[in-house]
């Protein structure tokens, strides 16, 4: 068995489909729709005013089904992906995407439901949304979630809008959101979008935000803090409770960027850290595929006092017993579902007197985020993931993720001497190195990344966070074996000690194309054929 997965490249070239066109060819079957008798003889002008009619049809390729299939199959072979390589992209949680979840999301009836289908016909789907909400509340200790936000950044935006609305309702104009300089770029961008001014907190070399350091930023103008925990160095914010207390004492909110929730999923709750709002990236922690850049889901959860600010619409359960009608999400004890019981009853006719409806009755809602209820196809995969694990395995996810990351950290610290800015302590789900040691070998962070590709690994996140020089951010996740991780470490070691500069500048060499000319790409941008 070879030491490294990257041995040599074999690629099949493809030209754009537009250049493979033959006039009149197509790869789709046009349904008959029972129109045979009448045919399609009449032209469009028989139906609509001629001035609206398009004379030049869009110049799409003219290709057959096999041509399309070969084209995109070849294209796909030019991608590295989680299923083919170790993909330790820090802050992105590139864990394995379970195949059963794809099968479930692909069930014919589920994927073909129109969002305006009346509630009485789709009780099992609404129940999934409701029950998933309850489980996320258990995992976080928060009071209620909304599935309106379509991705992490949308969740941040929703959370900040909630804070904004809260102060608006109180007639207060608090303008500032505190954002540590190590945060994801989406944090300050979302703050601006929500109408706040982000104020950067310098975190310095400590790796964490000290409660004392926070004090000088506090004023009555501060609406809240956006804190990533564990932060983007992969380090748990030890002062989190003190930080929350300081913020709460000031009447401000604590928003947690939950992008790194995989660090303590099932082992600790954010409610115990004093968090008021969090977004959970279902495409990270909850195993739904990243899709080459999306779609994802940025479910947002809040404490009891902010429930009425959540986006609409949402799913609520209505329980009828005699004349009493109660409704809500996660009404402790009253509306609580026994999932296994419901299965026996085929999910619907449980006779429990429960009915699920879509509602918009949130008193202070920030409004709508999306045209419909939620990204259901993402949500159903995440729900299936949780049911697969169950409460007996859920805690192992973050346990193994943290063990793996610390294994990488400790092993690499020996190879990249003096490059671990936080050598003393333990990290959580990811670890960060600077470029000191590799620079000594004459290799830059970018070159390390490109060289790793030739060894058969997807590079870690590089040059982020900005305050680590030439940052290399590694997140192995719990779905990688020690054997794989060892092989990756061995590759870094070889790069550090054996690779010549001449090879480094030319890497990657085994890929379909070599290093991309980004200057040309931006100087003379070409957007389409």
């Amino acid at each position: 068995m070879p030491k490294f997965p990257g041995i040599r490249g074999f690629f099949l070239d493809e030209v754009p489909l537009l250049r493979q066109s033959s006039r009149g060819v197509r790869g789709v079957s046009i349904p008959d729709c029972g129109l045979k008798k009448t045919g399609l003889k009449k032209d469009e002008g028989a139906y609509i005013n001629k001035k609206f009619i398009r004379k030049d049809p869009p110049n799409l390729p003219e290709v057959s089904e096999p041509s399309v299939v070969r084209h995109f199959t070849r294209l796909s072979s030019w991608n590295m992906c989680v299923d083919s390589v170790f993909y330790p992209l820090g802050s992105c949680t590139m864990k394995y995407n379970p195949k059963i979840n794809e099968k479930i999301a692909g069930l014919e009836n589920i994927k073909n439901i129109h969002p305006e289908t009346p509630s009485f016909l789709i009780q099992p789907l609404l129940k999934i949304i409701h029950d998933f909400n309850c489980i996320l509340c258990e995992l976080t200790g928060l009071a209620e979630f909304s599935f309106a936000p379509q991705a992490g950044a949308a969740g941040e935006f929703a959370g900040l809008k909630i804070i904004k609305k809260y102060f608006d309702m109180k007639g207060k104009n608090r303008k500032k959101i505190l954002v540590p300089d190590s945060s994801h770029g989406t944090n300050p961008a979302s703050s601006v979008l929500a109408g706040f001014t982000p104020v950067e907190i310098k975190t310095g070399n400590a790796g964490t935000l000290a409660a004392e350091a926070l004090e000088k930023y506090i004023s009555k103008d501060v609406a809240g803090i956006m804190i990533t925990n564990p932060n983007t160095f992969g380090i748990f914010e030890k002062d989190i409770r003190k930080i929350s207390d300081i913020m709460h004492k000031n009447g401000s909110f604590v928003y947690m960027d939950g992008a790194n929730f995989n660090a303590f999923l099932g082992n600790a709750r954010v409610s115990d850290m004093g968090i008021d709002i969090i977004q959970l990236n279902l495409h990270k922690t909850f195993s739904t595929p990243h899709g080459g850049g999306g779609p994802g889901s940025g479910a947002i959860g809040v404490v009891e006092s902010l429930k009425e600010y959540l986006p609409v619409p949402y799913v609520k359960a209505v329980i009828k017993s005699g004349a009493n009608v109660k409704s809500g999400v996660v009404d402790n004890g009253h509306i609580k579902q026994d999932i296994k019981g419901a299965i026996k009853a085929k999910g619907l006719k449980s006779g429990s007197g429960l009915f699920y409806v879509t509602a918009a009755d949130k008193k202070y809602t920030i409004g709508r985020m999306a045209p419909f209820l939620c990204s259901f196809a993402v949500l159903v995969r995440a729900y299936a993931y949780l049911l697969s694990l169950g409460k007996n395995n859920i805690g192992s996810v973050s346990e193994i993720a943290v063990l793996n990351a610390n294994y990488v950290k400790k092993k690499l610290a020996k190879i990249l001497q003096g490059s671990d800015p936080f050598e003393e302590g333990l990290c959580m789900h990811e670890c960060v190195f600077n470029d000191k040691a590799i620079e000594e070998s004459g290799v830059s962070t970018l070159e390390l990344a490109k060289l790793l590709i030739d060894y058969g690994f997807h590079p870690p996140t590089v040059y982020f966070p900005k305050n680590i020089h030439g940052a290399i951010m590694i997140e192995p996740t719990e779905t990688e074996s020690i054997r794989t991780i060892d092989s990756f470490i061995k590759a870094v070691e070889e790069i550090k000690f054996k690779v010549k500069k001449s090879r480094a500048v030319k890497s990657p060499q085994k890929t379909k194309i070599g290093r991309v000319n980004e200057v040309l790409a931006n100087k003379k941008p070409v957007f389409k054929y």
Partner: protein
């Protein structure tokens, strides 16, 4: 002891890792990291059940599936922003390739050429369909895309260059024909900026954006108007006269940006696209191209603009370039607009988008090809007109508007002795296996027909409508 199937680490491996780190167990590990934050265990979960084996899980969801309307027994005639279109099997087969669905954003272009090439083809084909210069690599959905378009117009408005933070004087004119869902999302996004959203009336007869009303609103007061927003075809299915609107807007001294939206860009297989009428920005929904309805999401936001505005566009853009050896290569370009570089000064906060759905659209449009796209669009046009004619023939309905339409139209249910209005009609029809449309008011419904509806389904609709309303 066996491990859980998604974890490659055996129990022995885990023990080895603990030994390597010099830590006893989970309690010590987390204790050292999170300090006095309490650790939770399985007892903390009342609702999350014990693990389900794969077959049990499979059955659980098969039960869910059998508890909802079956695809082949339930006819969908509802649109309202999302449409039931045929999805060829080749799309699912190609998209189920891990190389497409399991990587993330192409931060490393050398190992992401497949996704980048496909997105470049997506951008090219969408640009063709819309008649626009630059298309980005996708937004979340049509509503968010449109909201971002409005924000972009506010950034671009000439007056804004002097006073960037204040939009108190600004008015965005939005046609009454814009999908109400999109409308609400625009309000959520612009909420903090001070900008005022003003609705343009629809003409009561044609159902098109009322030119006189727009004229008045553009002329009245000293307010700045960064953008006029219309939807094509509009929420009620009516084809807007973009030519007339363009003429009016382009004659204003400080020209507002002309933003055209659409929830059904399939219409541009039959009618002139937004670019034909000088639209500055197009922002709409692309789910109709090769994507399932998925109970409302995830969807596919389309975003396009004139070339001059590219540096204010949100989202990722795939561009064509060369590698060191002069070979064709693809990469994301102009990323200095984006949050991961610009942070608070970015044009948008968007990061993860709808990339995979965009690749689905690229595959779909390739399969359709030039002639198929046009023919399927024509088929939609024809089926919707047949259905409307047949429903009007029953004498139970009357047209809500007279304007031309593509695959969606609105009817009013005439007064009937049962007093059945739109909501009850839809409920009764749903019990009979037909999603009859979307209630637009107490008596009006919006109905769509696509290539997924054949003549016998149309006849079934008419027959059942008669029964429901006569009964």
């Amino acid at each position: 002891m066996n491990n859980f199937r998604y974890f490659p680490a055996s129990k022995r491996d885990i023990a080895k890792l603990y030994r390597f780190l010099g830590i006893k167990d989970k309690k010590e590990l987390f204790g050292k990291i999170i300090g006095d934050i309490p650790l939770i265990d399985a007892d903390a979960f009342k609702i999350l059940p014990e693990e389900m084996d794969e077959e049990f899980l499979n059955r659980f969801f098969l039960n869910v599936s059998s508890g909802i309307p079956a695809k082949d027994k339930f006819s969908v005639f509802a649109g309202g922003g999302i449409y039931s279109h045929f999805v060829p099997a080749a799309i699912d087969a190609l998209i189920s390739r891990s190389e497409f669905y399991t990587p993330y954003t192409p931060y490393q272009p050398e190992v992401s050429q497949g996704t980048l090439f496909a997105l470049f083809e997506f951008q090219s084909m969408i640009a063709e369909i819309l008649g626009m210069d630059v298309v980005n690599a996708s937004m979340y959905d049509g509503a968010e895309s449109l909201a971002e378009a409005v924000l972009m117009a506010m950034r671009l408005s000439p007056a804004n260059r002097d006073m960037p933070a204040s939009h108190k004087e600004d008015i965005i004119l939005i046609s009454g024909g814009v999908n109400p869902g999109c409308d609400s999302v625009i309000k959520t996004f612009t909420g903090g900026t001070g900008v005022k959203i003003v609705k343009i009336k629809l003409n009561g007869i044609t159902g098109r954006t009322d030119i006189e009303d727009l004229k008045q609103k553009l002329a009245s007061g000293s307010a700045r108007v960064p953008a006029v927003v219309v939807q094509q075809p509009n929420y009620f299915g009516i084809i807007e006269d973009l030519e007339e609107l363009e003429r009016l807007i382009k004659n204003i001294a400080i020209e507002p940006l002309f933003i055209v939206s659409s929830t059904e860009p399939y219409s541009f297989g039959v009618i002139n696209p937004p670019g034909f009428y000088g639209a500055d920005i197009f922002a709409g929904e692309g789910n109709s191209f090769g994507n399932y309805m998925n109970f409302g999401g995830p969807l596919l936001g389309l975003f396009a603009a004139k070339k001059d505005y590219v540096r204010q566009m949100p989202g990722r853009i795939a561009g064509k370039t060369k590698d060191g050896k002069g070979r064709d290569a693809y990469a994301f370009i102009l990323s200095t607009r984006e949050q991961h570089i610009r942070r608070g000064a970015a044009t948008s906060n968007i990061c993860t988008n709808s990339s995979l759905n965009a690749v689905r659209a690229a595959i779909y449009l390739s399969l359709c090809s030039k002639t198929g796209f046009k023919e399927i669009a024509f088929l939609n046009l024809k089926l919707a007109h047949i259905l409307r004619d047949k429903l009007l023939c029953t004498g139970l309905f009357e047209p809500l508007y007279s304007g031309d339409f593509f695959n969606e139209f609105s009817l009013k249910i005439k007064k009937n002795k049962n007093g059945i209005g739109a909501a009850l009609f839809i409920e009764e029809m749903a019990k009979r296996g037909i999603l009859a449309g979307i209630a637009a008011s107490e008596s009006a419904i919006i109905i769509s027909a696509t290539e997924n509806n054949n003549i016998s389904e149309i006849e079934k609709y008419v027959l059942n409508a008669k029964e429901v309303l006569y009964a």
